[in-house]
Subunit: 236 residues, 2 copies
């Protein structure tokens, strides 16, 4: 089972996810994720793996399942969105059954904190080029901006690639006004959530890191008090 | 409070959503949504509104809140994705506080049933032209296909617009191979879920209606047994 814990707060993960973890004999995950649920896994076999140990984690999980154990691979957010679901299915290769249990992804969590930026068509793009070629990312940023999508950026900045967010913004500015609302949410729906409402012109003057989700509006997006809203098109 | 019930199964909605509904004095929603939670709302004031009554529903909810009531507007999925969150914030206009409580959206629910189609960048597009001009939709379909996004189609077909899905497919075929995997999920993560794994070439030979979510792969997407997987890029 590949299980999504949602944003991290316990009140954001589903009974289905809870039941899956409870039913597991072994729980596999990056140690930060296991630390979110110590009470649920205290009597279970645990396999805590380091960050970027995704392939090893998938292999171990599949081996344990092939040996007859019930295994839950846990991660934050939705394991089906830039998560472990694909790797587990590939590693399993049909040898063991796989079940994906969705969680609330960062786009939903950040959007809820910002108000309602995703009321119309949107594109989700990760700025991590560890796994996607940079040229592909540029092509997608360009296409999404040209199509006037609301754009959700995952993994917007890390130490290894501080400039991707600058490049992304420059591409946006070819198609979107500098006044376009931009929402920046750090640790969405976790204990220490911080949110910032800014604009495409001003966004780089705010802190953006790997714990952040960035949402860039479309041509209709506007601010309404403390909220960012993309109208769906209803006439009020 | 604008509250997302997720796909519909009770085990897919979050403790946060549950607590919000319990704390409400009035629950407002399309009657199909209220029918999902009869036990939670039996002692509460209820405002059941017909489909397409969104503006009226938003106005009523805000009026009740302005009169001092604690109001929960409920809907399936994530109210922040093509949902009621925007309309409520606009109708409130700062007169009453609004809180959005996210739920699992159809893209996550359908992806989990299909395997792992959303492991890489994706675009979410609604084919309902009730609120978005048809030209805008065409532009977005074209942009998303040109950018090699995985594409999630919401509201893919209704009686009023049976041909939008055909047009969408034709645009996809300008950029994507007919062999591109396509997943069709009806009633994702509800009692009577049906899923179909097909291809862009063959997709119109399967039933697609308003209760369906359609996911069209990118150039890397493939099938792996009964699953649809878009590789994230790890080397196994």
């Amino acid at each position: 089972m590949v299980v999504g814990l949602g944003p991290g707060n316990r009140d954001c993960f589903t009974p289905e996810a809870l039941a899956a973890i409870k039913s597991a004999q072994v729980v596999v995950g990056y140690h930060t994720y296991l630390d979110l649920i110590p009470d649920l896994i205290q009597d279970k076999e645990k396999v805590a793996t380091p960050m970027r140990g995704e392939v090893e984690r998938a292999r171990q999980a599949v081996e344990l399942a092939a040996a007859g154990k019930t295994v839950a691979v846990v991660s934050s957010g939705d394991p089906g969105i830039y998560g472990m679901a694909g790797l587990i299915i590939e590693a399993a290769g049909g040898r063991v059954p796989v079940r994906v249990i969705p969680g609330i992804t960062a786009a939903s969590a950040a959007a809820a904190s910002l108000g309602a930026p995703l009321m119309n068509d949107f594109a989700v793009i990760s700025l991590s080029d560890l796994l996607t070629p940079w040229e592909t990312m540029l092509k997608r940023l360009e296409a999404a901006a040209a199509g006037d999508f609301v754009i959700v950026l995952y993994n917007p900045r890390s130490h290894g690639r501080p400039d991707h967010i600058k490049t992304a913004r420059e591409i946006m500015l070819k198609y979107k006004s500098p006044a376009t609302p931009v929402g920046i949410v750090r640790q969405a729906r976790r204990g220490q959530e911080q949110k910032t409402l800014t604009t495409l012109g001003d966004m780089l003057n705010h802190e953006i890191d790997m714990l952040t989700t960035v949402i860039i509006g479309n041509a209709q997006t506007r601010t309404e008090g403390d909220f960012m809203v993309t109208p769906r098109g209803y006439r009020l």
